[in-house]
Amino acid sequence: MNLFELNNVTAGYGSTPILRDVSLAVEEGDVVSLIGRNGVGKTTLMKIAIGLLSPEEGDVMFDGADVTSMGADERARAGIGYVPQGRDVFPRMTVEENLQIGAEVGGGGREKLYDEVYEYFPRLDERRDQNAGTMSGGEQQMLAIGRALVGNPDLLLLDEPSEGVQPSIVTEISERVQEINEEIGTTVLFVEQNIQFTMNASNSCYVMEKGRIVDRVSPDDADDESVIEEHITI
């Protein structure tokens, strides 16, 4: 069953169209990636997915329901956890307070995953009372993922989790994403430009060019690494 779908979505800012007739599906329990060069519209697609931007045409389906007209906060409470590009942690709030905000995700009915988040990311545990704005890029990325995860979402959306993060931490984050998927069962859709991250973490990969989905490949096939590489590098 598809947990999440975009069907023939056209969207943009004002009059300039950015996404044209985009369709994409994420099966429940899967880890799906979306790759493409700078400025092709990946973040725009993620904003459509969480509801920060409304499509001009097409619809957004989540958990069997049409959520196109739902606002971002409603979708979050319905079970979508969103990690924005550039992380956007709340800088003048502590690590713990950032996680408490994320507890809204999934609504009031579910068990919250504070313990799990601190286990996956022990650095957060050590820094509970530190202001998020004073942490390193990698730590902020972990916090942003933890913040989206703590509410126990069905779907986790990650927009370029490796951006501006040092290589050893990129590996750590990609392993955590896989563990979260396997152990908690969270479905994941992420945007990446890092080939290694994409190859390691996802089972299926959409390729975007100039606002359209042009290919879907499986990173498990060795042949596809070159395809992915070709689509990311200029």
Binding site: D73, A76, P84, F90, R92, E97, G102, E104, A132
Partner: protein
């Protein structure tokens, strides 16, 4: 003689500090958290003063009439937010024009409803005196209430779920929304709290002013100056700002009269903003974006 002078100035400082902080606190919340410049803030204070004076004249004890003033003003603010203000978020100029219009309507409306003046509220508690020195004990109450309100706000914004959500919304609205925070509701509650604070301020100030429809105008400039000098931290900033400005205002008022005191206050504000463009608390903030 010298001691009496010191005591006189201390007394003036207490009431100056209390008045500045009380006049500013509601404005500081609404501007600091929502970036709405509420030009009707003075009239919110006026409504609080009237509701307090009205309740008092109907036999309600002052200690209860003041929170009633806060609540009435809060409800007025809530209705305005739902009807008008919420359509003007992120539209600075439009919101200023709208709130300016509201301020005129409120001042004129009160004139029509209640006439040019309303029976004054007598200052409670009497004087404290020492030799030649004598001041109203109520000044101490004003300063203490101002600090008490700020402490209450600190509690709300630090320890409650609403408070956390409000701070998150202020720091990054879009991200807060995408994490399930109903930011529309947060803005509504914040405007309500700011209005309640303005109303309580009006109630607390009602025994020391004449209850007239234009009374808001005597506080609006000081309120704005205090908020600007305070800078980004609503609570710490407002305390420091109220303190610094009253330290300048009180002795000058004592020696050269209250008009000179006001001029000194404005000059002090300009100097502080020249030296610390982010306001006093901008200097203290850490962990920027």
């Amino acid at each position: 003689m010298a001691l009496t002078n010191v005591l006189d100035i201390t007394g003036l400082m207490l009431s100056s500090f209390g008045t500045l902080v009380l006049a500013a606190v509601g404005l500081a919340i609404i501007f600091g958290m929502m970036r709405i410049i509420n030009l009707a803030h003075g009239e919110f204070i006026m409504i609080g003063a009237y509701a307090t004076a009205f309740s008092f004249s109907a036999g309600v004890p002052l200690a209860l009439a003041i929170p009633i003033g806060g609540l009435v003003t809060g409800i007025v603010g809530l209705v305005l937010e739902r009807l008008i203000i919420r359509h003007l978020y992120d539209r600075l100029v439009d919101s200023m024009v709208a709130t300016w219009g509201i301020s005129l309507i409120f001042a004129q409306g009160m004139l029509i409803i209640a006439g040019p003046s309303f029976s004054d509220v007598p200052t409670p508690l009497g004087p404290i005196s020492y030799g030649d020195f004598s001041m109203s004990l109520y000044r101490v109450v004003l300063a203490a209430s101002a600090i008490g309100l700020l402490i209450a706000l600190y509690g709300i914004y630090t320890y409650t779920t609403y408070g956390r959500h409000a701070r998150a919304t202020m720091q990054d609205e879009e991200t807060a929304r995408s994490l399930g925070v109903n930011t529309d509701r947060i803005y509504m509650i914040t405007f309500f709290i700011g209005s309640v604070m303005a109303g309580i301020a009006g109630g607390l100030l009602s025994p020391i002013v004449s209850i007239v429809p234009t009374l808001g105008q005597s506080y609006i400039i000081e309120a704005f100056v205090t908020v600007i000098v305070a800078g980004p931290s609503v609570i710490l900033g407002t305390i420091l700002s109220g303190f610094s400005l009253s330290v300048v205002n009180a002795p000058v008022s004592q020696w050269a009269g209250s008009f000179a005191g006001r001029v000194a206050l404005l000059v002090a504000a300009i100097v502080i903003i020249r030296l610390l463009p982010e306001g006093i608390s901008g200097y203290w903030m850490e962990g920027g974006e």
